[in-house]
């Protein structure tokens, strides 16, 4: 007997990739954008890189009158259009042998019986070993019925095998609904088998925040209130809501982006060093920092919101939010949101974290800017340092992933004249091209059961706890302020920083 485990494995053997064990994935909501643009292409890319287990099967579930081949065609089209890696016929053929389709409604007992039989067949025919992941690419309102059906038809647990459920944001629309959602999932699946996908956390640059902070000597000593003046976390989009009116109206920018992506970025930037990088330690540190985070008060002066108006964005004439298809002219949904968060601990006391997000802004960019205090004394004439502002370290999350360091330098010439210069680091094309797309990494982690990159429900609830008072405040204050499309947001957002003598970076 091999007692000491697999003799072919060795922790020093870092070339060997992790390949998931036998399993299948069931996608609910195969016709949606998420499935077609992200999930299915990522599955193909994983297969192409040889990281899916032999016999891996993909089951689609939807209210369509389709056969397995029709489903395969949908996957084929989405892979052709959106996959990152080259299309190889032999990979496709191998993968498509494992495609199954189950037609039915989410309240249709017969369909879920068919699903169970399909999975049992896959275990038999393709050796998926009773391990199945359920990817809920459907609106959160439908989670409850689907989860209940999974339980009722004995799909939620297996003997000597795992069942996992994958959900996407939004994880609720406030603290109460997040708890409800978690109860729905928690009644059927243990917290270790619920995987919440926040695709930002799968990005190389986001993981690089941790590497930058904790693998280097030169940043961490400055990473505190003694040297940091404030932090700006921005996620800007140049597009409008597009065809997502149904989803977006009533949700708005704060719920859509701040609660998940920006709060997670804040946690990674502000947290203390974890004792190790396993899931549990990371989660504890993130939870700790999120529980010390509070909103700056009063909210009327420390937050801002807006709605994009008609205008010219990047040379294109665009309509305002209220004129978009499917949006009521009286909608008070914000398309721009900015909040001020204080982290009440010794490291960050008095350092505001400004979080902003919006649609139809100047350009598409996500970044974290740590802005340092001015030097306490400048032995130069005031004229010489007129153009010198504050040093800054910027983590560019997307696009153009990398780091920027801004500091003062002498202007070449005879006079002593100092101005800001930027030093850029872009890790070649590797963060963008050769490295796996976030979804690939996250789906592989689901199949491996490796949870570090997934937010747990505690973090989700803490984020809502921070955001809820802002949402309540805005709900009682009429309409958001309009801002012209293609600009950097409403005036109230600029005022919010100007009160403290600061300005937003133009990213």
């Amino acid at each position: 007997m091999i007692v000491a485990g697999n003799p072919l494995r060795d922790p020093r053997d870092r070339r060997l990739p992790r390949i998931a064990g036998p399993c299948s994935m069931v996608i609910f909501g195969v016709t949606g954008d998420l499935s077609r643009k992200k999930v299915m292409p990522a599955v193909y890319d994983l297969a192409n890189r040889g990281l899916l287990p032999p016999g891996f099967s993909l089951v689609g579930f939807a209210r369509r009158d389709w056969a397995d081949q029709d489903f395969a065609q949908i996957v084929h089209d989405s892979v052709k259009e959106h996959a990152r890696t080259e299309f190889r016929q032999e990979v496709w053929e191998q993968l498509s042998e494992g495609f199954r389709f189950v037609a039915g409604d989410f309240d249709d007992d017969v369909a879920f019986d068919t699903l169970r039989r399909t999975l049992e067949q896959l275990d038999q025919e393709r050796g998926t070993g009773g391990n199945h992941a359920f990817y809920l690419a459907i609106p959160p309102g439908l989670f409850a019925p689907v989860i209940a059906q999974l339980k009722e038809h004995g799909l939620a647990e297996g003997e000597d095998s795992w069942r996992r459920v994958v959900v996407e944001k939004p994880f609720g629309h406030d603290l109460d609904s997040a708890r409800e959602l978690n109860d729905v999932l928690g009644q059927v699946f243990t917290s270790g088998s619920v995987f919440r996908i926040d695709h930002y956390l799968g990005k190389e640059t986001v993981q690089n925040i941790l590497a930058m902070r904790f693998a280097n000597t030169m940043f961490e000593p400055l990473w505190n209130a003694n040297y940091v003046d404030h932090v700006q976390i921005t996620m800007a989009e140049d597009i409008g809501i597009g065809g997502r009116a149904g989803y977006y109206d009533g949700i708005g920018a704060a719920r859509d982006v701040i609660q998940n992506h920006l709060m997670q970025l804040l946690a990674l930037v502000a947290m203390e060093e974890p004792p190790s990088f396993d899931a549990e330690s990371l989660r504890l540190e993130k939870e700790k920092v999120l529980s010390s985070a509070v909103l700056a008060k009063p909210l009327s002066r420390s937050t801002a919101r807006g709605q994009y108006d008609a205008g010219w964005a990047g040379g294109e004439k665009v309509e305002g939010f209220l004129a978009e298809d499917g949006i009521k002219p009286t909608s008070t949904t914000e398309t721009y949101a900015a909040i001020t968060v204080l982290v009440e601990n010794r490291r960050w006391a008095g350092v505001p974290f400004y979080l902003r997000t919006g649609k139809r802004l100047g350009r598409r960019v996500t970044e974290v800017a740590v802005v340092f205090k001015r030097a306490p004394h400048l032995p130069f004439s005031e004229l010489a340092t007129e153009e010198l502002t504050q040093n800054a370290l910027v983590v560019r999350v997307q696009p153009d992933e990398g780091l920027t360091l801004r500091f003062g330098s002498k202007v070449p010439g005879t006079a002593m004249e100092i101005r800001d210069v930027s030093m850029d680091f872009a890790y070649g094309g590797s963060f963008t091209e050769s490295s796996p797309e976030a979804y690939e990494r996250l789906i592989l982690d689901v199949l491996l059961g490796d949870p570090p990159l997934f937010p747990r429900h505690e973090e989700v609830e803490l984020s809502w706890q921070i955001l809820d008072p802002v949402l309540a405040h805005w709900a009682s204050r009429g309409k958001p302020e309009p801002y012209e499309s293609g600009t950097w947001g409403p005036k109230s957002a600029d005022d919010m920083l100007a009160r403290h003598g600061r300005t937003w970076r133009r990213p």
Binding site: R88, G129, Y427, G428
Partner: protein
């Protein structure tokens, strides 16, 4: 590309700076230097492969073609920065007496304070670490499968000459096979009593796989010959059961495991750029290759 005729290392270095300034971005984001010691005939293909690999690892790629050693020394170079990738490249041709001092041309062109890798795309020195160019590098990449001389013993000689930092693409080619075998044994922890490896008659990868399996499993491993391409079959045998991976077309493998249906698996032979990129990912010692290489030498003696 700028052509420099009868030039020096200093001029090549100056041209790198000028090229970057011309492109409007004088900053360097490169993380290592890759020297490609290549023959004239293979230069174009090898430089393209090294440039492709430097998409993942932004690098200064120095191609070095050592020509005829007779006559007056002459150094010619084509210098350019990548369009569409983050690196720089110089293809340097040496003629005359300087061919014996190639390292003196390369040394001033190494990026400061960062690792150096050298790759011999076809023929390589018998002892890469003792080679004047090889000595400059932390990572010395040979390819026993691509050598044109004494092909049957090339791998064995490389293994015998192994020191920290040496590596061979024959080993890199094995990674997907080894991953699949390890994963199969994770799933089916059978007690292996014998194993076999089948591949082309001359296949350094197959020989390394034999050594690796023999070393890790401590069971007899037999080597069989097939028409290829490359590796075609690996079997791990217990008393009653077996795990078998067959790949006859160099693309798609079939996995036979106990108590489970046969399953197809993508297992395509990879191109040189992908292999190089894997080699450049880690520049510290590869302990497993070191053990396998030493074991291969022990098995043969």
């Amino acid at each position: 590309m700028i052509e420099l005729t009868n030039t020096t290392s200093a001029e090549i270095a100056a041209e790198f700076v000028r090229a970057r300034t011309r492109s409007g971005s004088p900053a360097m984001g490169m993380v290592l230097t890759v020297i490609v010691a290549v023959r004239e005939d293979d230069a174009t293909e090898a430089m393209a492969a090294a440039q492709a690999a430097s998409r993942e690892h932004p690098a200064r790629v120095l191609g070095l073609i050592v020509g005829d050693g007779r006559g007056t020394s002459q150094v010619d170079a084509q210098v350019g920065i990548g369009s569409g990738w983050g690196g720089e490249t110089a293809l340097i041709r040496l003629r005359g007496e300087v061919v014996k001092h190639a390292e003196s041309v390369v040394l001033p062109l190494l990026l400061p304070d960062s690792p150096v890798a050298i790759w011999w795309p076809t023929d390589h020195p018998a002892d890469p670490a003792a080679d004047p160019l090889g000595r400059l590098a932390q990572r010395r990449i040979t390819d026993s499968a691509a050598t044109t001389r004494r092909r049957t013993t090339a791998l064995e000689r490389q293994c015998a000459a192994y020191v920290r930092g040496n590596t061979d693409l024959a080993w890199t080619r094995l990674t997907p096979w080894r991953a699949l075998l390890a994963a199969a044994l994770d799933q089916h922890p059978i007690k292996v009593v014998a194993a076999s490896v089948t591949g082309e008659r001359i296949s350094p990868s197959a020989d390394l796989l034999v050594a690796w399996l023999n070393h890790r499993l401590r069971v007899p491993v037999t080597r069989h010959t097939s028409a290829g391409p490359g590796l075609t079959e690996v079997v791990l045998q217990s008393r009653e059961e077996e795990i078998r991976i067959c790949r006859t077309d160099g693309k798609l493998a079939t996995l036979h495991t106990p108590g489970a249906p046969d399953r197809p698996m993508a297992l395509a032979r990879r191109g040189v750029p992908a292999l190089l990129a894997e080699e450049l990912r880690r520049l510290d010692e590869d302990d497993i290759y070191a053990e396998t290489a030493r074991h291969l030498v022990r098995m043969r003696s």
